[in-house]
Amino acid sequence: EQLFVGDQVLRIIANDEEQMTLLRVLEEQAELQVDFWRHPTNLNHPVDLQVSFSSLQAVKIFLDSYSFSYSIMIEDVQELLDEEKKSMMRSRR
């Protein structure tokens, strides 16, 4: 089973086309292990990005260095998954 301990989901707002392009570049970088939950589409839509714990620092440095506005949408993905599992167990009982 794949665990997601320490993974975060970042909600990013691109301020201009240049930032949109940079997000698309990020999308192409397989080694960073990012998963776009909401893809960079247009400036009005937030981009949600799941980032593995091991890539978190690199991705945040990337975002900071290009002055992206972002917030942490999910602090720890695994915590939510554990909660989801507990909820299903409760329901089944």
């Binding site: 909660e83 329901s91 089944r92």
Partner: protein, 310 residues
């Protein structure tokens, strides 16, 4: 295992086995309305089931609904279960549902991608694709919503098997997609296709593979406007609407573009609610609110298809 419809917990997420058992119970509870068809087998040989809601007649005009083509979108599947139950319960009570089913059939594929769905339950909750092997690649799976023969292989899909939007080796390469294609072609009288996803709060229609407006653009945008307005009236959830290409981005090889290009005029796709906090991990206590608010929008499209025969 759930033992009866009355104890089934619609406010919880369920495994594939639980959902397939529930389908059988729904059929047992509504034998004169609901039946279960198998339209094919998945890559891992799981049955692809469709619930048929019909009050009789032969080859009536039909509405196709599907949920769960992207398995990690659990809220979509859960909404599908609630909705199928609602259709069965409201026949004979709700005048719109009754009118629809007195003239049309509804086909509902609740688990469009069972292999992926099972995989989200035991191996990777975030899995989006099918589970087919890709020759020459270590990466598994194809995005079934890029695998349709509608601008196949173009913008918004990827030729890289490791990408989440990998379009597959050829159009309809995925058994899960081919089964629907064959079913809709074989039926020949499907008037509406509604393919449900999550979580961007959108109601979209063709095209995704080109920016040219569809021939029926005006009618579809007016219908979409009404549907999202009726949805918002329930809990105030705001949806945006329009063609896929103009509203989000160019996306080639999608379900609704294929349906539209194959003569299904009322082809829509929904992106269900997002609280802005959970994405694909929407807590189960939001299943019923999500399904409840989605219902009037679905009904609007289905009633429109009923009232505007073509």
């Amino acid at each position: 295992r759930e033992r009866s419809i009355s104890t089934f917990d619609f406010a919880s997420y369920h495994t594939l086995d639980e959902i397939y058992d529930w389908m059988d119970m729904l059929v047992e509870d509504h034998p004169n309305l609901v039946s279960k068809l198998q339209i094919g087998q998945s890559y891992e040989n799981r049955p692809l089931y469709v619930l048929k809601f019909s009050t009789g007649g032969s080859n009536r005009p039909a509405i196709w609904l599907d949920t769960g083509i992207h398995p990690r979108e659990w809220i979509t599947t859960a909404t599908g279960i609630w909705t199928a139950n609602k259709i069965a319960e409201e026949y004979g009570h709700d005048p719109s549902v009754t009118a629809i089913l007195d003239s049309m059939d509804i086909f509902f594929e609740i688990i469009t991608n069972p292999d992926g769905f099972v995989y989200t339950h035991h191996s990777n909750r975030m899995w989006r694709k099918t589970r087919s092997m890709n020759a020459g690649s270590r990466c598994v799976g194809v995005d079934p919503n890029r695998n349709w023969d509608a601008g196949f292989g173009g913008a918004g899909s990827s030729s890289n098997p490791c990408s989440e939007t990998y379009h597959g080796p050829h159009a309809h390469s995925e058994r899960e997609v081919k089964a629907i294609v064959d079913f809709i072609h074989g039926h020949g009288n499907v008037k509406s296709v509604i393919s449900i996803h999550s979580y961007s709060q959108m109601l979209l229609f063709p095209y995704g593979y080109k920016t040219t407006p569809a021939d029926d653009y005006q009618e579809m945008i007016e219908l979409a406007k009404k549907a999202v307005s009726d949805l918002a009236a329930v809990y105030g959830t705001k949806y945006i609407y329009g063609s896929v290409a103009n509203t989000i981005y160019m996306a080639c090889g999608t379900t609704i573009d294929w349906a539209y290009d194959n003569g299904v005029k009322y082809s829509f796709t929904l992106e269900l609610r997002d609280t802005g906090r959970y994405g694909f991990l929407l807590p189960s206590n939001q299943i019923i609110p999500t399904a409840t608010e989605t219902w009037p929008a679905l009904l609007d499209i289905m009633v429109h298809a009923l009232e505007h025969p073509y």
